[in-house]
Point group: C2
Chain length 227, copies 2
């Protein structure tokens, strides 16, 4: 008998690598989905490939979609600078409706695979400025998924699993470390260099570095420049 | 003062052409969005271009995304035949999570544009076999949109408008005709030839032809073959 199937969204970052490790530890047959959405730096997708391969997924697909053509974020639009200090409100690194697009694609693949779960590494604690990382958003997507799919209509609803949603960065790092995640493979930086080394200055780098410190685990991240 | 902005999903079919005409009649500045999702026939996208141009949209964007890479539907997978007779249950022409993916993309663009509405031509009467065409599905997407976006969080929720959802095909045709929609520009067929002529035999052709008959309006569709 085969294990239950799950689609896992894998971005190349620390959070999704840990989420994939949790899905594996939950005994799921994992199908990793990454989205090439016109992000400025392709090193994220290279990281996603290495993470998926290392963790023994059944299959890894990378879907291309040009969200950069829609614009509106410092992560896809080169004319918007990546900030190095936190600002009030929703940050410019927010990509409009990104998680909704990603979860919709995961839903499509889950339906084709007959998977009963989608695992996603969203986190509401450190990134509370992003509306689509909150528990109430995930609950609304779960409700949508039950109505949106053939499986749901036929009585096999699809569950959205976000095991990190209420964890601190330090807790995520401790959990990932306990599951053997190789954090050297992951990229969190909003502006890495071409070799994947992190800037050490953007908000994502600050959160990551702070998380390793708080977890009492040595930070294996390669930094470039004066950071 | 400029008119309120709306994103309108335009597929190239009769329903979305009528929906766009309704949004224009509602006084909206319309931004047409089409999705190149690996559908077998590109004549739909050519039709979408002509419809958007004829109806004076502010801008028309075509986003590419390879749903064919996910498979599972006769509309994107050449190994699945398009049926010519209605079958029980959800038809093989159903593209997994298609409307969820399309609405998610529309949501992203609406957020960047500051649009307050998304118009979509889904219809629950003739296509009741598709789970993501029902009013309860649309309500769930509306609830998601309120939680998913910066605009929603800041108190400017985005509304999903589906003016056709409970109309018969004949009613849609009458409404479109009254608004001056040129139905010759639209393509409904699941297997048109390269010039855009319809087969006359697939379920979509049957519904369209029956709609013109019931509306008492001459069917301007070009048919190929023995139909």
């Amino acid at each position: 008998m085969s294990a239950p199937r799950a689609v896992v969204l894998v971005s190349g970052g620390l959070d999704s690598a840990t989420t994939l490790a949790i899905a594996r530890a939950d005994g799921r047959d994992c199908f990793a989905l990454s989205v090439d959405y016109g992000q400025r730096h392709r090193v994220e997708l290279d990281a996603a490939r290495r993470i998926a391969a290392m963790q023994g997924v059944i299959e890894h697909r990378i879907l291309r979609i040009d969200l950069g053509g829609i614009g509106g974020s410092a992560l896809t639009d080169p004319s918007i600078a990546v900030p190095e200090r936190p600002a009030a409100g929703i940050p410019v690194t927010y990509v409009p409706a990104r998680n909704t697009v990603f979860l919709a694609l995961a839903l499509a693949w889950a339906e084709v695979l007959g998977a009963a779960e989608i695992y996603v590494g969203v986190n509401a604690v450190d990134y509370s400025g992003y509306p689509d990382c909150r528990p109430e958003y995930l609950a609304a997507f779960g409700a949508l998924a039950r109505l949106a799919t053939k499986a749901g209509v036929e009585g096999r609803p699809l569950a959205i699993r976000a095991p990190l949603v209420l964890m601190s960065k330090a807790d995520i790092i401790r959990r990932g470390a306990s599951l053997g995640v190789d954090f050297r493979l992951t990229v969190s930086c909003y502006q890495p260099d071409e070799a994947g080394a992190a800037c050490g200055r953007c908000e994502s780098c600050r959160l990551r570095r702070g998380g390793f410190e708080a977890a009492g685990i040595a930070d294996p991240t390669r930094y470039h420049g004066a950071a």
